[in-house]
């Protein structure tokens, strides 16, 4: 083992496209970085942006969100709602103290095992470059900081 930083990455994926795509990657024996742990949800529409913040709070260094391609949603439109939600969320990430590069949004279909491996490897490399995620300062400390300034 080298001293390479091994980031801890959580992937929130939909059951129908990306989860199945990741299954395909397995069936095809595509080797990829072991840093990504998948949490299965029915649809990207189910993914609350708070899940992402919670993951960081609990020690994740990076997050992947992935679902069906636009127009391919198993539930017709869930991924469109997700897309809007994440478009807004992306704007707020820095405000929340998270480097947007730590979060990867992608569309991986059930037939894109290779693409899933790429997404996993790229996200791992990217987060590895960024280093461990420094936890948020506690709210109290933050409040103190504001108080000092004013």
């Amino acid at each position: 083992m080298s001293d390479l930083f091994e980031p801890n990455i959580v992937a929130f994926v939909c059951n129908w496209c990306t989860y199945t795509g990741a299954d395909l990657a397995g069936t095809s024996r595509l080797t990829m970085a072991p840093n990504v742990r998948i949490i299965r949800l029915p649809c990207t529409g189910r993914i609350d942006t708070l899940f992402i913040l919670k993951a960081f709070e609990r020690g994740a260094d990076g997050v992947i969100v992935s679902g069906c391609h636009p127009a391919d949603c198993h539930y017709t439109a869930g991924n469109y709602h997700a897309r809007r939600r994440f478009a807004v969320f992306r704007e707020l990430m820095e405000f929340a103290g998270i480097d947007p590069q730590r979060v990867t949004f992608s569309w991986v279909s059930a037939s894109e095992g290779g693409k899933w491996a790429e997404v996993v490897n790229n996200a791992t490399e990217q987060v590895r470059r960024l280093g461990p995620f420094q936890k948020y300062p506690s709210p109290a400390a933050h409040a103190g900081e504001i108080a000092c300034k004013s």
Binding site: E6, R37, R46, R58, T76
Partner: protein, 672 residues
């Protein structure tokens, strides 16, 4: 405190090779709440399952986690095993240690660590799983078929013959659809009406089919097994119960000069009319826009202008004061078979993406007609009695140019798709023309000849070899009048030469488009449609006749351009799906659906707006005295498909998706 059992599968060598399964079992066994943790060579095998069942019973487990392959592979297997041991199946979950771990990693240490993490997620999650039970929904075993063309007729007959009641709704005054307008059909050249009209009569006489002609679907409520459909019965101005179809009214109507829709404007009809002699039901309708009496009324003329039809009707069936009426039917399944229209290539288009073909002068040059108009000219029951004559001067055309792909396969004009039937019907037209005008010459401009189908390519060869149609590969840039003839300027791409042909008549094989109003109907049914308006099937290959709305099925050209054999096959497929649905009195549904906490719901209805299925309903909460407390959202169990978009959207966190509740997901995330 939970009593969780963990079962780690080696999957032979598949998992065991890269994951230290014993260590995973041991490590997960140390987690709080886990009372039993083992590893085994093949968990899915019979002895493996016995292992699980015994553990559940002996250790009184209240949740099990199987660390094995993908849940898509064996979740059902293990849930069944759990159920047989008396554990609620939804208290069994799987951790994917094979596809998502052992198969994609090589480093045993890292893979084992990851396997432990994946197992830990599920262990933590399952602590919050609730026992769920399968939902049973009663099924109203009657079907509604929308559209009385060949697809709708076939679907209705098949369902009715299968022993279920059918309501067939047709917006025109007679069923039969476009097929009743056709002269002869490819590839056998049998007369369309000869094969269709017996089926139409069968519909009318079938004891299980209720035919509602001249009616339209007004609204659809409910869900699979339990739809309430409100149907508008448009005012015919003729009492269906009294009329016996004698036709005296039609004979005596003074207004005989109205272009006939059935004859595509080439023939005329009266204001009170039956669209064609074999109409089913054979009951006339008054076209109020052209009837003198109704026009007089609309203008506010006090005097009754006409009334001939009522005077001659021996049965007093004509009713000028008839109003639209409504009926509501309860059905368990809906078949959409609304068919197609031909792309009218004139200048004005109802959709912005479509642009007409001004260069072909359709609508201004009288002898430029479309495929359906040619069908009417060639039809023995058509306006010319089956003689091919020019609409402009009634002369027999000695040279007809047929243009294929007008509108189809032309992204620049708004339609990219292939209309599929045109290659075949143009070949048929050249044959019919050759049979009727022996010294006539047919020239066809084509892009490709797409004649896939039984006997189809042979048919096109016959058109070329026996009917001597001249096929030129290329497009036509302009049609212009040159005195009596139409100048056709085109290009033959095989010889590389521009071609100018003076034709007596030009027939445009225009694109097939969905019926007007399809979008409105699709919205009533919450069925999605593509940018052209064709309805979307649930899966293009594996679920071709179902839609994403459970209980709504498709048949025929409303889904994509189709010919008669394809439409009939699809209609029968749909009918078998409907009969399958109706084979049980109760419908089983997975209980992984959303529910609303009525205490915390604030009634903002964001969920209602994002739900792709329209599953969110509004419910009024009242106190014991009947005073309204608040209006809240409620999820219809029959309609919800369990995507969870509502839950992620809910600002007050009042929606929970069973199987994927916030508690469960946060528990998993906390286990990072």
């Amino acid at each position: 405190m939970s009593r969780i059992g963990v079962f780690i599968c080696h999957c032979g060598e598949n998992i065991g090779r890269t994951v230290d399964c014993a260590r995973v079992a041991q490590s997960l066994g140390d987690l709080p709440g886990v009372v039993h943790s083992v590893d085994y060579k093949y968990m899915c095998s019979d002895p493996g399952q016995v292992l699980i069942k015994q553990a559940i019973q002996e250790k009184n487990l209240d949740g099990i986690v199987v660390g094995a392959c993908s849940p898509h592979m064996h979740e059902k297997t293990f849930r069944k095993a759990a159920a047989s041991a008396g554990l609620n199946p939804f208290l069994c979950e799987m951790a994917n240690l094979r596809e998502h771990c052992s198969w994609i990693h090589e480093d045993r240490e890292l893979a084992t660590e990851k396997a432990i993490a994946l197992g830990r997620f599920i262990v933590e999650k399952i602590k919050y799983n609730r026992p769920l039970s399968t939902i049973y929904i009663p099924v109203e075993r009657r079907a509604l078929v929308i559209g009385g063309g060949i697809a709708g007729i076939q679907a209705a007959l098949d369902i009715a013959d299968g022993g279920r009641d059918v309501i067939l709704v047709e917006k025109e005054s007679s069923i039969g659809g476009h097929m009743s307008q056709l002269s002869e059909t490819f590839p056998t050249l049998d007369c369309s009406q000869c094969i269709l009209t017996p089926r139409m009569v069968e519909v009318a006489q079938h004891p299980r089919i209720k035919l509602l002609a001249y009616s339209e679907v007004e609204s659809v409520d409910g869900y699979i097994g339990n739809f309430q459909v409100k149907i508008r019965r448009k005012a015919r101005s003729v009492d269906e119960t009294k009329c016996n179809g004698c036709g005296e009214c039609q004979k005596n109507c003074p207004n005989k000069k109205i272009p006939s829709e059935f004859d595509q404007g080439l023939g005329t009809r009266t204001a009170i009319y039956v669209p064609f002699p074999q109409a089913v039901p054979n009951i006339p309708v008054i076209d109020r826009a052209s009837c003198a009496l109704f026009r007089g009324r609309a203008k506010g003329v006090k005097k009754v202008v006409c009334g001939k039809c009522a005077e001659v009707c021996g049965r007093n069936a004509v009713d000028f004061d008839q109003q639209d009426s409504f009926v509501t039917e309860k059905v368990g399944a809906i078949v959409v078979a609304t068919g197609y229209q031909l792309y009218s290539i004139g200048k004005s288009q109802e959709l912005d993406i479509l642009r007409g073909y001004g260069e072909y002068g359709y609508g201004t040059i009288p002898d430029v007609i479309d495929g359906l108009q040619f069908e009417r000219l060639a039809s023995a029951s058509g306006p010319t009695g089956g003689k091919i004559l020019r609409p402009s001067d009634g002369k027999e055309p000695k040279k007809i140019v047929f243009l294929q792909c007008i509108g189809s396969r032309d992204p620049a004009k708004g339609i990219e798709y292939c209309s599929k039937i045109c290659c075949m019907y143009v070949a048929k037209h050249t044959m019919l023309y050759h049979h009727k005008v022996h010294d006539g010459k047919a020239v066809v401009f084509y892009m490709d000849i797409r004649a896939g189908g039984k006997g189809y390519d042979e048919f096109v060869r016959r058109a070329i070899e026996e009917s001597h149609a001249l096929y030129l590969r290329g497009r036509v840039s302009r049609l212009s009048r040159d005195g009596d003839v139409i100048r056709v300027q085109g290009f033959d791409t095989l010889s590389g030469e521009p071609v100018v042909i003076n034709a007596d008549m030009v027939v445009l094989a225009t694109a097939m488009r969905p019926q007007p109003g399809i979008a409105a109907l699709a919205q009533k049914l919450s069925v999605s449609y593509d940018q052209h308006g064709f309805l979307n099937e649930a899966h293009p290959k594996l679920r071709p006749v179902e839609t994403n709305t459970a209980g709504v099925f498709l048949a025929g050209a409303c889904q994509s351009p189709r010919d008669i054999p394809d439409s009939v096959a699809m209609a029968s497929a749909t009918a078998s799906k409907v009969l399958g649905l109706f084979s049980k009195e109760l419908l089983e549904r997975e209980p992984l659906i959303a529910r609303v906490d009525r205490m915390t719901c604030t009634g903002c209805f964001h969920c209602e707006r994002v739900c792709p299925y329209g599953a969110v309903e509004r419910k009024t909460l009242t106190d014991s005295k009947g005073r309204i407390i608040k209006v809240i959202a409620e999820v219809n169990q029959g309609v919800c498909q369990g995507c969870g978009t509502c839950q992620a959207t809910c600002p007050s966190k009042s929606v929970e998706l069973d199987g994927f509740t916030d508690e469960q997901i946060y528990a998993a995330v906390n286990a990072i």
